[in-house]
Protein backbone atom coordinates (compact mmCIF):
# COMPACT_ATOMS: atom_id res chain seq x y z
CA UNK A 1 0.00 0.00 0.00
CA UNK A 2 2.68 2.62 0.89
CA UNK A 3 4.41 1.68 -2.37
CA UNK A 4 1.24 2.41 -4.33
CA UNK A 5 0.89 5.76 -2.61
CA UNK A 6 4.54 6.57 -3.34
CA UNK A 7 4.04 5.64 -6.98
CA UNK A 8 0.94 7.77 -7.16
CA UNK A 9 2.78 10.72 -5.64
CA UNK A 10 5.60 10.13 -8.10
CA UNK A 11 3.19 10.15 -11.03
CA UNK A 12 1.55 13.26 -9.67
CA UNK A 13 4.80 15.19 -9.40
CA UNK A 14 5.74 14.19 -12.94
CA UNK A 15 2.36 15.41 -14.15
CA UNK A 16 2.82 18.69 -12.28
CA UNK A 17 6.35 19.05 -13.66
CA UNK A 18 5.13 18.52 -17.22
CA UNK A 19 2.39 21.08 -16.79
CA UNK A 20 4.79 23.51 -15.11
CA UNK A 21 7.12 23.46 -18.11
CA UNK A 22 4.26 24.86 -20.18
CA UNK A 23 4.41 28.05 -18.14
CA UNK A 24 6.36 30.87 -19.80
CA UNK A 25 9.87 31.26 -18.35
CA UNK A 26 10.87 34.33 -16.32
CA UNK A 27 10.62 37.49 -18.38
CA UNK A 28 8.92 35.91 -21.40
CA UNK A 29 5.55 37.62 -21.08
CA UNK A 30 7.17 41.07 -21.06
CA UNK A 31 8.82 40.71 -24.49
CA UNK A 32 5.61 41.19 -26.47
CA UNK A 33 5.46 44.79 -25.23
CA UNK A 34 7.83 45.51 -28.14
CA UNK A 35 8.21 42.25 -30.09
CA UNK A 36 4.80 41.77 -31.71
CA UNK A 37 3.03 38.59 -30.67
CA UNK A 38 0.74 38.99 -33.67
CA UNK A 39 1.88 38.89 -37.29
CA UNK A 40 -0.71 41.59 -38.01
CA UNK A 41 1.35 44.34 -36.35
CA UNK A 42 3.94 46.13 -38.51
CA UNK A 43 7.13 46.85 -36.60
CA UNK A 44 10.86 47.05 -37.23
CA UNK A 45 11.19 44.94 -34.06
CA UNK A 46 11.17 41.22 -35.02
CA UNK A 47 8.59 38.74 -33.83
CA UNK A 48 10.13 36.14 -31.53
CA UNK A 49 7.71 33.26 -32.06
CA UNK A 50 9.29 30.49 -34.10
CA UNK A 51 12.72 32.11 -34.26
CA UNK A 52 15.75 29.85 -34.31
CA UNK A 53 16.72 28.88 -30.79
CA UNK A 54 20.46 29.38 -31.26
CA UNK A 55 19.90 32.75 -32.93
CA UNK A 56 17.92 34.00 -29.92
CA UNK A 57 20.62 32.83 -27.52
CA UNK A 58 23.37 34.44 -29.61
CA UNK A 59 21.47 37.73 -29.95
CA UNK A 60 20.81 37.96 -26.21
CA UNK A 61 24.43 37.08 -25.32
CA UNK A 62 25.82 39.56 -27.84
CA UNK A 63 23.53 42.33 -26.63
CA UNK A 64 24.54 41.54 -23.07
CA UNK A 65 28.27 41.58 -23.76
CA UNK A 66 28.03 44.72 -25.88
CA UNK A 67 29.27 42.89 -28.97
CA UNK A 68 26.03 43.77 -30.69
CA UNK A 69 24.77 47.33 -30.53
CA UNK A 70 21.19 47.75 -29.43
CA UNK A 71 18.89 50.63 -28.64
CA UNK A 72 17.24 49.08 -25.57
CA UNK A 73 18.13 45.37 -25.86
CA UNK A 74 21.69 45.95 -24.64
CA UNK A 75 20.23 47.31 -21.39
CA UNK A 76 17.56 44.61 -21.10
CA UNK A 77 19.79 41.61 -21.91
CA UNK A 78 22.02 42.51 -18.95
CA UNK A 79 19.13 41.56 -16.67
CA UNK A 80 19.13 37.90 -17.75
CA UNK A 81 21.41 34.97 -16.83
CA UNK A 82 22.61 32.33 -19.28
CA UNK A 83 20.04 29.85 -17.95
CA UNK A 84 17.24 32.38 -18.31
CA UNK A 85 18.32 33.18 -21.87
CA UNK A 86 18.29 29.45 -22.74
CA UNK A 87 14.79 29.08 -21.28
CA UNK A 88 13.54 32.12 -23.20
CA UNK A 89 15.05 30.79 -26.43
CA UNK A 90 13.42 27.37 -25.88
CA UNK A 91 10.09 29.03 -25.21
CA UNK A 92 10.03 31.34 -28.23
CA UNK A 93 11.54 28.78 -30.63
CA UNK A 94 8.70 26.40 -29.74
CA UNK A 95 6.00 29.00 -30.49
CA UNK A 96 4.27 29.28 -33.81
Amino acid sequence: MPRVVAAAIGALSIAVAVVASAEPPAGAVSCSGCHPASAKVTSPVPRLAGQDRAAIVRAMQDFRSGQRAGTVMDRIAKGFTDDEIQALADWFAAQK
Binding site: V16, E23, V29, G33, C34, V45, T71, K78, G79
Partner: protein, 424 residues
Amino acid sequence: MKITRRRFLELGVVATASAAVLPVPTLAQGAGPRVVVVGGGFAGASCARGLRHVDPRIAVTLIEASPTFTACPFSNGVIAGLRELSAQQFTYEHVAADGITIARQLATAMDVPGKAVVLLDGRRVPYDRLVLAPGIDIRWGALPGYDEPTAAQMPHAWKAGEQTLLLRRQLEAMDDGGLVVISAPANPFRCPPGPYERASLIAHYLKTKKPKSKLLVLDAKDTFSKQRLFQSAWAELYPGLLEWVPLSKGGNVTSVDGATRTLVTDFGKHQAKVANVIPPQKAGRIAELAGVADRSGWCPIDPVTFESKLQPGIHVIGDAAIAGAMPKSAFAANSQAKTCAAAVALLLTGGTPPTPKLINTCYSLVAPDYGISVAGVYAPSNGQLADVPGSGGVSPSDAPRASRAAEAVLAEAWFRTITGEVFG
Protein backbone atom coordinates in the same frame (compact mmCIF):
# COMPACT_ATOMS: atom_id res chain seq x y z
CA MET B 1 -6.51 17.85 -0.76
CA LYS B 2 -5.28 20.38 -3.22
CA ILE B 3 -6.64 20.05 -6.69
CA THR B 4 -3.88 19.83 -9.28
CA ARG B 5 -3.89 21.87 -12.44
CA ARG B 6 -4.35 18.73 -14.53
CA ARG B 7 -7.26 17.51 -12.44
CA PHE B 8 -8.78 20.95 -12.72
CA LEU B 9 -8.41 20.88 -16.50
CA GLU B 10 -10.08 17.46 -16.62
CA LEU B 11 -13.01 18.82 -14.64
CA GLY B 12 -13.20 21.70 -17.04
CA VAL B 13 -13.20 19.42 -20.05
CA VAL B 14 -16.07 17.41 -18.56
CA ALA B 15 -18.00 20.61 -17.90
CA THR B 16 -17.47 21.81 -21.46
CA ALA B 17 -18.56 18.45 -22.83
CA SER B 18 -21.81 18.45 -20.84
CA ALA B 19 -22.44 22.03 -21.90
CA ALA B 20 -22.26 20.87 -25.48
CA VAL B 21 -24.87 18.17 -24.81
CA LEU B 22 -27.19 20.26 -22.66
CA PRO B 23 -27.90 23.68 -24.15
CA VAL B 24 -27.44 25.58 -20.90
CA PRO B 25 -25.17 28.48 -21.80
CA THR B 26 -24.12 29.35 -18.26
CA LEU B 27 -23.01 25.83 -17.31
CA ALA B 28 -19.51 25.88 -18.80
CA GLN B 29 -18.87 29.31 -17.41
CA GLY B 30 -20.22 28.37 -13.99
CA ALA B 31 -17.88 25.39 -13.87
CA GLY B 32 -14.74 27.52 -13.98
CA PRO B 33 -13.42 29.89 -11.36
CA ARG B 34 -14.52 33.50 -11.69
CA VAL B 35 -12.02 36.31 -12.01
CA VAL B 36 -13.23 39.88 -12.15
CA VAL B 37 -10.97 42.60 -13.51
CA VAL B 38 -11.81 46.24 -12.80
CA GLY B 39 -10.40 48.74 -15.31
CA GLY B 40 -9.87 48.31 -19.04
CA GLY B 41 -6.52 50.03 -19.62
CA PHE B 42 -3.09 48.67 -20.45
CA ALA B 43 -3.13 46.68 -17.20
CA GLY B 44 -6.73 45.52 -16.93
CA ALA B 45 -7.55 44.66 -20.55
CA SER B 46 -4.22 42.89 -20.85
CA CYS B 47 -4.78 40.88 -17.67
CA ALA B 48 -8.32 39.87 -18.70
CA ARG B 49 -7.02 38.57 -22.03
CA GLY B 50 -3.99 37.00 -20.37
CA LEU B 51 -6.24 35.03 -18.01
CA ARG B 52 -8.30 33.62 -20.91
CA HIS B 53 -5.09 32.81 -22.78
CA VAL B 54 -3.46 31.03 -19.85
CA ASP B 55 -6.58 29.07 -18.92
CA PRO B 56 -9.74 29.32 -21.05
CA ARG B 57 -11.66 27.66 -18.21
CA ILE B 58 -11.57 30.85 -16.20
CA ALA B 59 -14.72 32.96 -16.47
CA VAL B 60 -13.43 36.50 -16.82
CA THR B 61 -15.51 39.64 -16.38
CA LEU B 62 -13.99 43.00 -17.22
CA ILE B 63 -15.68 45.98 -15.57
CA GLU B 64 -15.10 49.16 -17.55
CA ALA B 65 -17.49 52.09 -17.76
CA SER B 66 -16.14 53.60 -20.97
CA PRO B 67 -16.91 52.02 -24.36
CA THR B 68 -13.66 53.50 -25.68
CA PHE B 69 -10.19 53.46 -24.19
CA THR B 70 -8.10 56.59 -24.75
CA ALA B 71 -4.39 55.88 -24.38
CA CYS B 72 -2.13 58.30 -22.52
CA PRO B 73 1.18 57.35 -24.20
CA PHE B 74 1.60 59.56 -27.29
CA SER B 75 -1.20 61.87 -26.11
CA ASN B 76 1.44 64.59 -25.69
CA GLY B 77 1.66 64.43 -29.49
CA VAL B 78 -2.05 65.23 -29.64
CA ILE B 79 -1.54 68.28 -27.41
CA ALA B 80 1.25 69.49 -29.72
CA GLY B 81 -0.90 68.99 -32.83
CA LEU B 82 1.25 66.14 -34.15
CA ARG B 83 -1.52 63.51 -34.14
CA GLU B 84 -5.25 63.25 -33.59
CA LEU B 85 -7.00 61.91 -30.50
CA SER B 86 -8.64 59.20 -32.61
CA ALA B 87 -5.18 57.61 -33.01
CA GLN B 88 -5.23 57.15 -29.22
CA GLN B 89 -8.61 55.44 -29.06
CA PHE B 90 -9.43 51.75 -28.94
CA THR B 91 -12.56 49.69 -28.40
CA TYR B 92 -13.16 46.44 -26.54
CA GLU B 93 -14.64 44.32 -29.32
CA HIS B 94 -11.56 42.11 -29.68
CA VAL B 95 -11.28 41.84 -25.91
CA ALA B 96 -14.90 40.63 -25.80
CA ALA B 97 -14.19 38.22 -28.66
CA ASP B 98 -11.78 36.38 -26.35
CA GLY B 99 -14.81 35.23 -24.36
CA ILE B 100 -14.54 37.97 -21.75
CA THR B 101 -17.78 39.32 -20.32
CA ILE B 102 -17.64 43.09 -20.38
CA ALA B 103 -19.69 44.96 -17.79
CA ARG B 104 -19.94 48.52 -19.15
CA GLN B 105 -20.58 50.09 -15.78
CA LEU B 106 -18.77 51.98 -13.10
CA ALA B 107 -17.74 49.85 -10.12
CA THR B 108 -19.04 51.96 -7.26
CA ALA B 109 -18.78 49.74 -4.20
CA MET B 110 -17.07 46.65 -2.86
CA ASP B 111 -18.33 43.75 -0.79
CA VAL B 112 -14.96 42.37 0.24
CA PRO B 113 -16.27 39.75 2.75
CA GLY B 114 -18.92 38.66 0.21
CA LYS B 115 -16.34 38.66 -2.61
CA ALA B 116 -18.31 40.82 -5.01
CA VAL B 117 -17.93 44.09 -6.87
CA VAL B 118 -21.03 46.29 -6.87
CA LEU B 119 -21.85 48.24 -10.02
CA LEU B 120 -23.51 51.65 -10.34
CA ASP B 121 -26.83 50.01 -11.25
CA GLY B 122 -26.68 47.89 -8.09
CA ARG B 123 -25.72 44.63 -9.80
CA ARG B 124 -23.24 42.45 -7.91
CA VAL B 125 -20.40 40.76 -9.76
CA PRO B 126 -19.08 37.87 -7.67
CA TYR B 127 -15.48 36.71 -7.93
CA ASP B 128 -13.14 34.03 -6.70
CA ARG B 129 -10.22 36.37 -7.28
CA LEU B 130 -10.33 40.05 -8.10
CA VAL B 131 -7.82 42.08 -10.12
CA LEU B 132 -7.94 45.84 -9.70
CA ALA B 133 -6.41 47.94 -12.47
CA PRO B 134 -8.06 51.30 -11.83
CA GLY B 135 -5.17 53.53 -12.87
CA ILE B 136 -5.01 56.91 -11.18
CA ASP B 137 -7.38 59.43 -9.70
CA ILE B 138 -6.52 63.09 -9.27
CA ARG B 139 -6.06 64.04 -5.63
CA TRP B 140 -8.41 67.02 -5.83
CA GLY B 141 -7.63 69.69 -3.28
CA ALA B 142 -4.13 68.38 -2.49
CA LEU B 143 -2.83 71.38 -4.41
CA PRO B 144 -4.81 74.31 -2.90
CA GLY B 145 -7.11 75.84 -5.50
CA TYR B 146 -6.97 72.89 -7.87
CA ASP B 147 -10.44 71.32 -7.95
CA GLU B 148 -12.58 69.88 -10.73
CA PRO B 149 -13.98 73.23 -11.99
CA THR B 150 -10.42 74.65 -12.07
CA ALA B 151 -9.35 71.77 -14.34
CA ALA B 152 -11.58 73.35 -17.01
CA GLN B 153 -9.42 76.51 -16.81
CA MET B 154 -6.07 74.88 -16.16
CA PRO B 155 -6.27 71.38 -17.64
CA HIS B 156 -4.27 68.51 -16.14
CA ALA B 157 -4.57 66.39 -19.30
CA TRP B 158 -3.18 63.53 -17.21
CA LYS B 159 -6.07 61.25 -18.19
CA ALA B 160 -6.23 61.28 -21.95
CA GLY B 161 -9.44 62.46 -23.62
CA GLU B 162 -11.36 65.72 -23.36
CA GLN B 163 -8.65 67.22 -21.13
CA THR B 164 -6.03 66.48 -23.80
CA LEU B 165 -8.10 68.33 -26.41
CA LEU B 166 -8.78 71.22 -24.03
CA LEU B 167 -5.06 71.84 -23.50
CA ARG B 168 -4.45 71.64 -27.25
CA ARG B 169 -7.23 74.15 -27.99
CA GLN B 170 -5.86 76.54 -25.38
CA LEU B 171 -2.40 76.39 -26.97
CA GLU B 172 -3.89 76.91 -30.43
CA ALA B 173 -5.92 79.89 -29.23
CA MET B 174 -2.95 81.57 -27.54
CA ASP B 175 -1.31 84.55 -29.25
CA ASP B 176 2.36 84.35 -30.15
CA GLY B 177 4.41 85.62 -27.23
CA GLY B 178 2.30 84.05 -24.48
CA LEU B 179 3.59 82.35 -21.35
CA VAL B 180 2.80 78.64 -21.04
CA VAL B 181 3.36 77.06 -17.62
CA ILE B 182 3.48 73.36 -16.77
CA SER B 183 3.46 72.35 -13.13
CA ALA B 184 4.96 68.93 -12.42
CA PRO B 185 4.17 67.03 -9.20
CA ALA B 186 6.34 65.32 -6.60
CA ASN B 187 6.86 61.54 -6.90
CA PRO B 188 5.16 59.15 -7.31
CA PHE B 189 2.87 59.87 -10.23
CA ARG B 190 1.76 58.30 -13.53
CA CYS B 191 4.43 58.33 -16.25
CA PRO B 192 7.57 59.83 -14.62
CA PRO B 193 9.04 61.20 -17.90
CA GLY B 194 5.61 62.39 -19.11
CA PRO B 195 5.74 66.03 -17.93
CA TYR B 196 9.13 66.48 -19.63
CA GLU B 197 8.06 64.87 -22.90
CA ARG B 198 5.01 67.15 -22.81
CA ALA B 199 7.22 70.20 -22.17
CA SER B 200 9.41 69.13 -25.11
CA LEU B 201 6.55 68.70 -27.57
CA ILE B 202 4.80 71.91 -26.47
CA ALA B 203 8.16 73.66 -26.94
CA HIS B 204 8.33 72.13 -30.42
CA TYR B 205 4.85 73.47 -31.17
CA LEU B 206 5.76 76.94 -29.89
CA LYS B 207 9.07 76.98 -31.76
CA THR B 208 7.38 76.17 -35.06
CA LYS B 209 4.09 78.09 -34.61
CA LYS B 210 4.53 80.76 -31.93
CA PRO B 211 8.27 81.37 -31.55
CA LYS B 212 8.03 84.49 -29.37
CA SER B 213 6.31 82.45 -26.63
CA LYS B 214 7.92 81.02 -23.53
CA LEU B 215 7.43 77.76 -21.65
CA LEU B 216 8.11 77.48 -17.94
CA VAL B 217 8.17 74.11 -16.17
CA LEU B 218 7.62 74.53 -12.42
CA ASP B 219 8.72 71.35 -10.71
CA ALA B 220 8.10 70.02 -7.20
CA LYS B 221 11.30 67.96 -7.63
CA ASP B 222 15.00 68.59 -8.14
CA THR B 223 15.54 65.50 -10.30
CA PHE B 224 13.43 63.64 -12.85
CA SER B 225 13.41 60.70 -15.26
CA LYS B 226 15.89 60.85 -18.20
CA GLN B 227 16.88 64.28 -16.88
CA ARG B 228 20.30 64.63 -18.53
CA LEU B 229 18.95 63.51 -21.88
CA PHE B 230 16.02 65.91 -21.75
CA GLN B 231 18.12 68.83 -20.60
CA SER B 232 20.83 68.41 -23.22
CA ALA B 233 18.16 68.06 -25.93
CA TRP B 234 16.38 71.18 -24.63
CA ALA B 235 19.63 73.15 -24.76
CA GLU B 236 20.09 72.02 -28.34
CA LEU B 237 16.51 72.34 -29.62
CA TYR B 238 14.71 74.90 -27.49
CA PRO B 239 17.29 77.38 -26.07
CA GLY B 240 15.66 80.43 -24.49
CA LEU B 241 12.19 78.96 -25.04
CA LEU B 242 11.91 76.26 -22.39
CA GLU B 243 12.95 76.93 -18.82
CA TRP B 244 12.84 74.27 -16.11
CA VAL B 245 12.59 75.53 -12.51
CA PRO B 246 13.44 72.83 -9.93
CA LEU B 247 12.16 72.67 -6.35
CA SER B 248 15.36 74.24 -4.99
CA LYS B 249 14.95 77.25 -7.30
CA GLY B 250 11.34 77.89 -6.34
CA GLY B 251 9.62 75.43 -8.67
CA ASN B 252 7.20 73.98 -6.13
CA VAL B 253 3.67 75.23 -6.85
CA THR B 254 1.84 75.79 -3.55
CA SER B 255 -1.52 77.02 -4.87
CA VAL B 256 -3.29 77.94 -8.09
CA ASP B 257 -6.08 80.29 -9.13
CA GLY B 258 -8.12 79.11 -12.08
CA ALA B 259 -9.85 82.43 -12.85
CA THR B 260 -6.57 84.27 -13.44
CA ARG B 261 -4.50 81.22 -14.46
CA THR B 262 -2.04 82.05 -11.70
CA LEU B 263 0.42 79.58 -10.17
CA VAL B 264 1.88 80.54 -6.80
CA THR B 265 5.25 79.24 -5.61
CA ASP B 266 7.26 79.93 -2.46
CA PHE B 267 9.28 82.39 -4.52
CA GLY B 268 6.57 84.26 -6.41
CA LYS B 269 3.62 84.17 -8.78
CA HIS B 270 3.37 83.23 -12.43
CA GLN B 271 0.42 84.35 -14.49
CA ALA B 272 0.10 82.07 -17.50
CA LYS B 273 -1.77 82.38 -20.77
CA VAL B 274 -1.97 78.58 -20.78
CA ALA B 275 -1.43 76.58 -17.61
CA ASN B 276 -1.14 72.80 -17.48
CA VAL B 277 -1.32 71.64 -13.87
CA ILE B 278 -0.20 68.05 -13.45
CA PRO B 279 -1.56 67.51 -9.95
CA PRO B 280 -0.79 65.02 -7.18
CA GLN B 281 -2.42 61.61 -7.80
CA LYS B 282 -3.49 58.41 -6.08
CA ALA B 283 -4.77 54.97 -7.01
CA GLY B 284 -8.22 54.92 -8.65
CA ARG B 285 -11.14 55.13 -6.22
CA ILE B 286 -12.11 51.44 -6.26
CA ALA B 287 -8.74 50.65 -4.63
CA GLU B 288 -9.73 52.74 -1.63
CA LEU B 289 -13.18 51.10 -1.49
CA ALA B 290 -11.60 47.66 -1.60
CA GLY B 291 -9.23 48.55 1.23
CA VAL B 292 -6.12 47.83 -0.83
CA ALA B 293 -4.72 51.39 -0.79
CA ASP B 294 -2.51 52.39 2.12
CA ARG B 295 -2.08 55.86 3.60
CA SER B 296 0.05 56.90 0.62
CA GLY B 297 -3.01 56.45 -1.59
CA TRP B 298 -1.28 53.66 -3.56
CA CYS B 299 -1.49 49.87 -3.20
CA PRO B 300 1.19 47.67 -1.65
CA ILE B 301 1.43 44.31 -3.43
CA ASP B 302 3.30 41.03 -3.33
CA PRO B 303 5.96 41.23 -6.05
CA VAL B 304 5.40 37.64 -7.24
CA THR B 305 1.60 37.50 -7.51
CA PHE B 306 0.58 41.19 -7.34
CA GLU B 307 -1.80 40.15 -4.57
CA SER B 308 -2.59 43.00 -2.20
CA LYS B 309 -0.62 43.06 1.04
CA LEU B 310 -3.78 44.40 2.70
CA GLN B 311 -6.58 42.20 1.28
CA PRO B 312 -6.04 38.55 0.31
CA GLY B 313 -7.65 37.45 -2.94
CA ILE B 314 -7.42 40.93 -4.47
CA HIS B 315 -4.60 41.72 -6.89
CA VAL B 316 -3.55 45.21 -7.97
CA ILE B 317 -1.66 45.98 -11.18
CA GLY B 318 -0.62 49.02 -13.19
CA ASP B 319 -0.35 52.62 -12.03
CA ALA B 320 -2.35 51.98 -8.84
CA ALA B 321 0.18 49.48 -7.48
CA ILE B 322 3.33 50.20 -5.48
CA ALA B 323 5.60 48.21 -7.75
CA GLY B 324 8.95 49.12 -6.18
CA ALA B 325 11.46 50.15 -8.82
CA MET B 326 8.98 49.70 -11.68
CA PRO B 327 7.65 53.03 -12.91
CA LYS B 328 3.98 53.78 -13.51
CA SER B 329 4.09 53.22 -17.27
CA ALA B 330 1.93 51.48 -19.86
CA PHE B 331 4.70 48.99 -20.62
CA ALA B 332 5.09 48.15 -16.93
CA ALA B 333 1.31 47.82 -16.55
CA ASN B 334 1.12 45.40 -19.48
CA SER B 335 4.09 43.41 -18.19
CA GLN B 336 2.57 43.22 -14.70
CA ALA B 337 -0.82 42.26 -16.14
CA LYS B 338 0.47 39.18 -17.93
CA THR B 339 2.60 38.14 -14.96
CA CYS B 340 -0.40 38.59 -12.65
CA ALA B 341 -2.69 36.65 -15.01
CA ALA B 342 -0.35 33.65 -14.95
CA ALA B 343 -0.05 33.86 -11.16
CA VAL B 344 -3.82 34.12 -10.63
CA ALA B 345 -4.44 31.12 -12.90
CA LEU B 346 -1.96 29.08 -10.88
CA LEU B 347 -3.32 30.22 -7.52
CA LEU B 348 -6.85 29.24 -8.58
CA THR B 349 -5.66 25.70 -9.18
CA GLY B 350 -3.59 25.44 -6.01
CA GLY B 351 -0.29 26.01 -7.76
CA THR B 352 2.64 28.15 -6.66
CA PRO B 353 3.55 30.98 -9.02
CA PRO B 354 7.24 31.04 -9.97
CA THR B 355 9.48 34.02 -9.25
CA PRO B 356 8.91 36.39 -12.15
CA LYS B 357 11.12 38.78 -14.02
CA LEU B 358 9.52 41.87 -15.49
CA ILE B 359 10.65 44.43 -18.04
CA ASN B 360 9.88 48.06 -18.64
CA THR B 361 10.71 50.16 -21.67
CA CYS B 362 9.60 53.79 -21.97
CA TYR B 363 10.22 56.03 -24.93
CA SER B 364 9.88 59.79 -24.81
CA LEU B 365 9.86 62.17 -27.74
CA VAL B 366 11.84 65.37 -27.33
CA ALA B 367 10.88 66.33 -30.89
CA PRO B 368 8.94 64.36 -33.52
CA ASP B 369 12.20 62.84 -34.83
CA TYR B 370 14.13 62.76 -31.56
CA GLY B 371 13.42 59.83 -29.22
CA ILE B 372 15.05 58.76 -25.95
CA SER B 373 14.34 55.75 -23.80
CA VAL B 374 14.69 54.17 -20.41
CA ALA B 375 14.60 50.42 -19.90
CA GLY B 376 14.74 48.19 -16.85
CA VAL B 377 14.55 44.57 -15.72
CA TYR B 378 12.97 43.80 -12.35
CA ALA B 379 12.75 40.86 -9.97
CA PRO B 380 11.34 40.42 -6.46
CA SER B 381 13.82 41.26 -3.72
CA ASN B 382 12.98 41.81 -0.03
CA GLY B 383 9.26 41.90 -0.77
CA GLN B 384 9.56 44.53 -3.51
CA LEU B 385 10.19 44.60 -7.24
CA ALA B 386 13.80 45.74 -7.51
CA ASP B 387 16.11 46.54 -10.41
CA VAL B 388 18.14 43.52 -11.50
CA PRO B 389 21.69 44.74 -10.76
CA GLY B 390 23.68 45.71 -13.85
CA SER B 391 20.64 45.95 -16.12
CA GLY B 392 18.61 48.83 -17.44
CA GLY B 393 19.35 52.50 -17.91
CA VAL B 394 18.72 55.32 -20.34
CA SER B 395 19.83 56.00 -23.92
CA PRO B 396 23.51 56.96 -24.17
CA SER B 397 24.09 60.70 -23.65
CA ASP B 398 26.51 60.87 -26.58
CA ALA B 399 24.35 59.00 -29.10
CA PRO B 400 24.28 60.47 -32.62
CA ARG B 401 21.13 62.09 -34.00
CA ALA B 402 20.59 58.99 -36.17
CA SER B 403 19.98 56.87 -33.08
CA ARG B 404 17.65 59.54 -31.63
CA ALA B 405 15.72 59.35 -34.90
CA ALA B 406 15.73 55.54 -34.71
CA GLU B 407 14.34 55.68 -31.17
CA ALA B 408 11.54 57.98 -32.35
CA VAL B 409 10.61 55.33 -34.96
CA LEU B 410 10.84 52.58 -32.34
CA ALA B 411 8.63 54.61 -30.02
CA GLU B 412 5.83 54.63 -32.58
CA ALA B 413 6.35 50.94 -33.31
CA TRP B 414 6.09 50.25 -29.59
CA PHE B 415 2.75 52.06 -29.43
CA ARG B 416 1.36 50.06 -32.37
CA THR B 417 2.63 46.80 -30.88
CA ILE B 418 1.37 47.25 -27.35
CA THR B 419 -2.03 48.63 -28.35
CA GLY B 420 -2.28 45.80 -30.89
CA GLU B 421 -1.61 43.27 -28.14
CA VAL B 422 -3.99 44.80 -25.60
CA PHE B 423 -6.89 45.84 -27.86
CA GLY B 424 -6.26 44.24 -31.28
